[in-house]
């Protein structure tokens, strides 16, 4: 655990730096937008309802969905900008609401006195109303700051590094030390901000300059101190840029993808490219991101493109699907499908050998009669996919209950009898380790899922890049991948370790 913790902590300065940058910019922009809007709303009363209404609706959109939506709205752009825009939107409601409440709550006698001594509306606002409403407004900013720190952890799935990387990669790879590091760091940051902004609030309420200076200095120290390692890393990186430029490698949110990203990055670095891995990208957006050219390469699965991008159902042989996918991606998106890596990671219904034998189930067709008394566990993504609809309709499956589980938890759940069947990934090391059986698919409802190497149009045009990666085609078979997955999922090794094993075996 100690070496793991030390490794996690070594990444803290950069991740904390990104997190603080996201928080500070989102909050700053949130204040600059919300306070003037709120002032306008106190002068044009009819604006109040619509403004707070819209901000309230934004708040009810699940945060992860809002972030993913930003990626789509911004044409597949991932990373900093979609994250910051979503965070700004989230920061607005408490600031808007408290500014409106604070300004309307200023004693009418004060407003009359200000007019009576001959202040203009603007002078009245700046010299009397805003200072008197300041404690309430700052309280709103404080609420907003704590929200933003929490929600900023969700920038990881849209490709922006943050403290969320600890949490998501920790959950993806069952590295609880990483998860806890992220949780503790984010909570600590939120508490520190809460305390410092509370000081500013007290300073405004008690008109205490000393408290104001203390809070302001604390905030400045936190933000500048937190940003320093990030700024230094960025500067030294800029100095070290080679002419080959940067290649952005993507990974979805499970161990196999982390390992393959390390394999791709290793291959590229060996050929003299500089490669950066963006991990735990939501699988719903990763293809759009590649199509938009903000990501350069990643590994997807032929059946996934077949079902979710091409909207095809039913299946043919693996080679036909692969050929059609390759042709479609080239014509439609200019994306190069360099070839199949040599293994398949299919969706497959699996159950424990003991239970399958007990019920006499060998294929999915055998499940139909038993399904009404069984529970199926799968990722929430799977339940939304066309493949699930195809399996369900082809075999007329009606399960007693659909249980949404994270990919890391579902294998344990079926082993322990908490669910009866799961939608396993066929390359997962835990299928063998937990003695699960993969049910046959006699009616070919599930398409083949050959792992394929996808390269964006822009990256493919770089001299030498495709050549550098071509040796990977056909180089990783089912057994090799399953073993590499097992190294991470069950033996607690890092994805980089597993990638090294794959490349040197």
């Amino acid at each position: 655990m100690m070496p793991n913790l030390i490794e996690q902590l070594s990444r803290l300065p950069i991740r904390l730096g990104w997190h603080i940058l996201l928080m500070a910019l989102a909050l700053g922009a949130g204040i600059l937008i919300s306070v003037p809007l709120a002032i306008l709303a106190t002068r044009r009363r009819w604006l109040q309802g619509p403004l707070l209404g819209v901000a309230g609706i934004v708040q009810t959109v699940p945060s992860l969905a809002l972030l993913a939506l930003m990626v789509v709205l911004m044409g597949g752009l991932i990373g900093f900008w979609p994250a910051i825009v979503a965070l700004v939107l989230y920061s607005m409601l408490p600031i808007l609401r408290n500014t409106v409440t604070g300004l309307l709550g200023v004693d009418a006698a004060m407003v009359e006195a200000a007019r009576g001594v001959g202040m203009t509306d603007r002078q009245m606002l700046l010299k009397v109303q805003l200072p008197l409403a300041a404690p309430v407004i700052i309280a709103g900013i404080r609420t907003s700051a704590v929200w933003v720190v929490g929600i900023a952890t969700l920038s990881t799935p849209v490709g922006q590094e943050s403290l969320g990387n600890y949490i998501f990669t920790g959950l993806d790879l069952r590295n609880h030390v990483a998860t806890m590091t992220g949780v503790v760091a984010a909570a600590g940051l939120a508490l520190a901000l809460d305390g410092l902004i509370r000081l500013m609030e007290l300073a405004a309420a008690q008109r205490s300059r000393a408290l104001g200076i203390l809070g302001g200095a604390g905030l400045a120290l936190l933000v500048l101190g937190g940003l320093t390692p990030l700024a230094m890393a960025k500067l030294s990186q800029r100095a070290a840029v080679t002419d080959a430029g940067l290649v952005r490698v993507g990974a979805k949110n499970f161990a196999e993808q982390y390992i393959l990203a390390e394999v791709l990055a290793g291959q590229l670095r060996e050929a003299g490219f500089r490669a950066d891995i963006t991990e735990s990208i939501g699988s719903a957006i990763i293809f759009d991101v590649l199509a938009a050219g903000t990501l350069d390469c990643y590994v997807d699965y032929s059946g996934t493109i077949w079902a979710t991008v091409m909207k095809r159902t039913g299946s043919q042989g693996g080679q036909e699907v692969l050929d059609e996918v390759t042709e479609y991606l080239r014509e439609r998106y200019g994306i190069v499908c360099l070839g199949a890596l040599g293994f398949e990671n299919a969706y497959a219904l699996a159950m424990t050998r003991a239970r399958a034998n007990e019920l006499g189930v060998r294929s999915i067709a055998d499940l139909a009669a038993q399904a009404p008394t069984m529970r199926i566990g799968a990722t929430h993504e799977f339940f939304g996919r066309d493949e699930w609809a195809a399996i369900r309709d082809t075999y007329e499956l009606r399960f007693a209950q659909n249980v949404s589980l994270s990919p890391t938890l579902m294998y344990g759940a079926v082993r322990d009898g908490q669910v009866d069947v799961i939608s396993a990934f066929s390359s997962d090391g835990r299928i063998a380790a937990y003695d699960l059986v993969v049910l046959e698919d006699p009616r070919s409802a599930i398409p083949p899922y050959d792992a394929i190497l996808l390269v964006s149009q822009r990256a493919a045009a770089r001299p030498g890049l495709l050549d550098a990666m071509r040796p990977l085609v056909g180089a990783i078979d089912d057994d090799a991948m399953r073993h590499a997955n097992k190294l991470v999922d069950l033996d607690g090794r890092t994805p980089a370790d597993a990638a090294r094993w794959l490349r040197t075996r």
Binding site: A109, M110, E112, A113, A114, R115, G116, V117, G118, M119, T120, Q123, K127, V128, P131, L132, R207
Partner: protein, 262 residues
């Protein structure tokens, strides 16, 4: 000089009138008290003079100039205003409160500073002791002294006072009334003060305008009002101070205040 000409205010398009066709003329250095019960329109009249409330009809002429044609912000900076609830800004020190209007007028810092010191001295608050204090650190009487200093800061020729002694205890009220009268006379301020306290009106006013239901019932000097017997309204308002005066005289002469139980 202030001329008020058929000044009127209605909040419902003329169905009812809060103030109706009020006219009077006030000479330089004169103190007029608007006296009447709550809701008689006296405060509305006062606020129409510096356009905190816009008149529905009628005019106010200040030194011959129609106030409705002047920018209201400029107008208000030329007129000192003392508020019923004192109206000091709680987030500003005594010094900052007093300096508001000079700063709004863009006076240089040195002149503002000197003026604050001069005014705090004038209202009996030693500057070194009080200038850095916040309103919450002052007694009610001290706050209204600051209120007077603030109203006087830019050297206005006209002062409007909305029940300025209403929030004070009787002893403080008496002291401040005397000091205000002294300052008003010394600076030859033309002043209009609103009150519902007949005794206060009699003691301070050069002339008193008695108001009822939005109109002036009668306007006269305190001496002539005291002699007045015909007007029932005025007689009622005067009954209380007259009775108190008789009782005080009786006590002073060692007699039992016979009317006390009457």
């Amino acid at each position: 000089m202030i001329q008020v000409d058929r000044l009127s205010k209605s909040y419902d398009g003329g169905a009812t009138w809060a103030v109706r066709q009020i006219s009077f003329t006030l000479n330089e250095g004169e103190l007029l008290v608007l006296l009447g019960a709550s809701g008689c329109g006296k405060t509305t009249t006062l606020k129409m003079i510096n356009r905190l409330i816009e008149p529905t009809a009628g005019h106010v002429f200040i030194d011959g100039q129609d106030a409705t044609t002047v920018d209201p912000v400029t107008l208000r900076r030329r007129i000192g205003y003392v508020f019923q609830m004192i109206g000091l800004f709680p987030h500003m020190t005594v010094e900052e409160n007093v300096a508001i209007v000079p700063r709004l007028l863009g006076w240089p810092a040195g002149r503002v500073e000197a003026r604050v010191v001069e005014l705090l001295d004038m209202v009996g608050l030693p500057p070194e002791q009080y200038r850095q204090r916040y309103p919450r650190q002052l007694s009610g009487g001290q706050r209204q002294r600051v209120g007077f200093a603030r109203a006087l800061a830019a050297g206005p020729r006209i002062m409007l006072l909305d029940e300025p002694f209403g929030a004070l205890d009787p002893i403080t009220r008496d002291t401040l009334q005397v000091e205000f009268k002294r300052i008003q006379a010394k600076l030859k301020l033309t002043a209009i003060m609103v009150t519902h306290d007949m005794t206060e009106a009699l003691l301070l006013a050069d002339r008193i305008a008695v108001m009822d239901q939005g109109q002036i019932v009668c306007i006269d000097t305190p001496q002539q009002l005291m002699a007045e017997t015909r007007n029932g309204m005025v007689a009622t308002l005067l009954a209380s101070p007259r009775r108190q005066m008789a009782q005080l005289e009786a006590i002073a002469e060692g007699r039992a205040p016979a009317e006390a139980t009457a």
